[in-house]
Amino acid sequence: MQPSGNRVHLETTLRNCVSRGRVLTSPAQLAGYDTDGLGYKEYRPDAVVIPADTDELIRVLQSARQLGVPLCFRGAGTSLSGGPVAAQGGIIVHTSALRAIRKISPEGFWCEVECGVTLNQLDEALKQHSVFYPPDPSSGPVCTIGGNVATNAGGAHCFRYGVTSNYVLGLEVILLDGSVHRFGGPAGGRGRWREDWKRFMIGSEGTLGAFTRFWLRVLPRPEKVWTFRATFPDLITAEKAIHGLVADASYPVAIELMDPRCVAMVENSPMAVGLPVDSFMLLTEIEGPAALVDARVESVAEILRNAGSRDVVYSDEAILRGKLWKARKVAGGLMGQLSADFVVQDAVIPKRALAELLQLVYDEADAAGIRAVNVFHAGDGNLHPNFLFDSRKPGELEKVELIGKRLMQRVVEVGGTLSGEHGIGNDKAAYMPLVFGPDTTRLQLAIPAVFNPRHQLNPLKVFTERRFTP
């Protein structure tokens, strides 16, 4: 927090950078920016700016640099890792006004969008051209492409299609000095640059510059989709199904698993869909040309049955498909209703370590008296243990953090990684030494040294070493 004299100066400077009404400083306004999707860690910014266009954004960056104030970019604030929060105070730049879809080229299979465009807004626009942009975080109705690129977001359908980095052809970034650079473009190459700098930008969590525009790769929309839901009495049978699907020529687009604790949570709620409460629930989807996917339906159902499911249900009809997805889709909302706080962890493991890691989650959570449910992208080995707790109860947050730490330690030991799609933010920055030794930490920190050497942009995120000293 800035001393009050400085805050007045900050406010006046920012008001000179942007048009009227685009600087927020009252406590009630700032409170909306205290947290992200993590919810329970609060950091009050000194000011929030909502630039109307890139010129305003450039002026904000230049002023922040001159004032020596930390600066953090924010899309929709749905990050689950403590990314878009003012961990060292300062300014939050909210990108919500930069939301134009500038061009869609169905022939060139690309589109050009501004950073504040929401994922579902883009999907609606692409639909009219019979193309789609595959990354699909469940926060699609609100999350922005800027946030998606900055966290290299994934989603259920990334099993087949890959994550955001597979689809970013180019981006425009404004560095702290106000200089504007374009890395790549519709063709997805390096452009005139010798090196492929966009690679550092994707997944950089707002620590290198402000992304304003993207060129994204799109694909023709699939003609037909089949959704399958099956339950399994135990993990062995569920895993057999997962391994069978992963190896199958039908190339499912999504393979999602819900553990019995999560199934029970849904079934004991008004959202119940009639699943056996002690079961693992698997959802999978195939899509493509109608002739091809129709021919594959039986073989997918057979994989699920042969693995040990006795209730394989499937459909190609939109409403029924929605019903098959229902338990999966309502799970997140239910956790929010059932618990004052919940944290979604995000780790990727070799799939063969699934049983061990689930057991670790159960053992640790049970011993600590914390409720844990799992619903995750099983095809990719991308775990999402959810811990339900109450941060107002003394010691609960610490318990959850300890479980997170033990989990991450084991994840790395079995060959996995700390984050598959949510990013590191400040939630997991302390675990980075588990993954990076002195040589590779130096390599990692060389990147902000190029673009943001004093860590003024989004300090304390990704690496704890990234502290801004004015």
């Binding site: 022939e107 299979f109 690309w110 890959g162 597979n166 052809l169 200089s179 890395f183 473009g185 063709a187 190459g189 390096r190 492929d196 700098w197 997944g203 023709p220 699939p222 135990d234 993990l235 062995i236 895993e239 992963v246 190896a247 020529a249 493509g288 040309p289 002739a291 091809l292 021919a295 990727v348 070799p350 063969r352 370590a353 049983a355 061990e356 689930l358 057991q359 159960y362 990719d380 080995g381 991308n382 079995v414 060959g415 598959g420 949510h422 990013g423 590191i424 980075m432 993954v435 030794g437 590779t440 390599l443 990692q444 920190l445 060389a446 990147i447 040294a449 190029v450 050497p453 990704v462």
Partner: protein, 350 residues
């Protein structure tokens, strides 16, 4: 107590975390030497009904392929090399070996140094081992060839790419040499599905005034490591491919959805269409593509430079680029030159 199908085996050095060689058939990942040739990788994967689909030249090492182009024909379905290689052991310029990247298929843990270094062609060190992502091998393939008037072949491409079948072809390539061109589609599918593909392709060919022929159980196409690569947008591939192939002694392969044109020059005493690239000790070493291999090398480099000069500005204007094993990239100018110096100094990449 929850029981699963299998348990863990260490695949990394406990201290350095560098990768050891392994294959994990469940995740479909394989760690091999960067000097492994495509055929060796295929053999390792084959026992598990898996394959590494991105192949430019079956006798070239993986690092030669990665350093000659970011894309191979099967990129149409599976993406670029950087989307099919997950991690690597990297030899830094001072000789230290570090691990870069992962052995799992997704990560947002830290900055993406992996993709930045993968195609840096020896400028910051080089890979000694790669962790590659394998895909299911259906053990049955069909290769379709669609030929006709150049204009008909070219006009058919956007129609083919628009349909939802496009994502099921491993490759959709436009092969062009002189006045001749044809489309090559390669499928890896279960035997019972090839009828569906054939029905679709033959009806498509008919609608586009093209003749179709099909070859069953044919190995995936390998055209060789290209002499140069142009990266553009998919809609520009047909014109760029045919335009390049009009030039004497050039064969061009357009990777239609990837927006890539691979160029092959005839070498002295070789017909252009034999598909072989130059003997490449090439891009693996820091002195990428600039070792002298005599007058032939210089002649080829000069020829490529001339071609690049004609097209570079248009490629750049779309955020595209070019790459050649024979011609070093232009020297960076400010601010890139400063960024590179800082990166090298701070990362210990000098």
């Amino acid at each position: 107590m929850i029981t699963g199908v299998c348990s863990g085996v260490p695949e990394t050095d406990p201290v350095s975390r560098c990768f050891r060689h392994f294959i994990d058939p469940i995740d479909g990942v394989l760690c091999v030497s960067a000097d492994a040739v495509a055929d060796e990788i295929a053999t390792l994967a084959h026992d598990h009904n898996l394959r590494f689909p991105l192949i430019l030249d079956s006798s070239a090492t993986l690092s030669q392929q990665v350093n000659s182009s970011e894309y191979a024909p099967a990129s149409s379905r599976f993406g670029a090399f950087c989307d099919n290689i997950l991690g690597m052991n990297w030899k830094m310029p001072d000789g230290r070996i570090v691990r870069i990247g992962e052995r799992v298929v997704k990560t947002t843990t830290g900055y993406d140094v992996f993709r930045f270094l993968l195609h840096s062609c020896g400028r910051f060190g080089y890979a000694t081992d790669y962790v590659v992502r394998l895909r299911p091998d259906c053990r049955h393939t069909v290769q379709y060839s669609l030929s006709g008037k150049t204009s008909d072949v070219c006009q058919s491409i956007p129609v083919l790419l628009k349909g939802s079948w496009m994502h099921w072809f491993d490759s959709i390539d436009l092969l062009s040499e002189g006045q001749n061109c044809r489309l090559r589609l390669h499928v890896n599918c279960p035997p019972n599905e090839s009828r569906l593909f054939t029905e679709y392709v033959s009806s498509f060919a008919g609608s586009q005034h093209l003749q179709m022929s099909a070859e069953y159980d044919r190995a995936a196409p390998v055209d060789g490591c290209p002499d140069f690569t142009f990266k553009t947008t998919p809609d520009r591939v047909p014109s760029l491919t045919t335009q390049l192939a009009q030039e004497q002694g050039i064969r061009a392969t357009g990777l239609c959805y990837s927006g890539v044109v691979l160029g092959y020059l005839s070498k002295p005493g070789q017909p252009v269409s034999d598909g072989s690239g130059p003997e490449a000790s090439d891009c693996v070493q820091p002195s990428v593509g600039i070792q002298t291999e005599g007058q032939d090398f210089e002649r080829i480099a000069e020829r490529i430079q001339t071609i690049v000069r004609q097209h570079a500005n248009e490629l750049y204007s779309l955020g595209g680029d070019w790459h050649s094993r024979y011609v070093p990239p232009p020297s960076p100018v400010s601010p890139e030159s400063e960024w590179i110096s800082i990166l090298q100094k701070e990362a210990g990449l000098l």
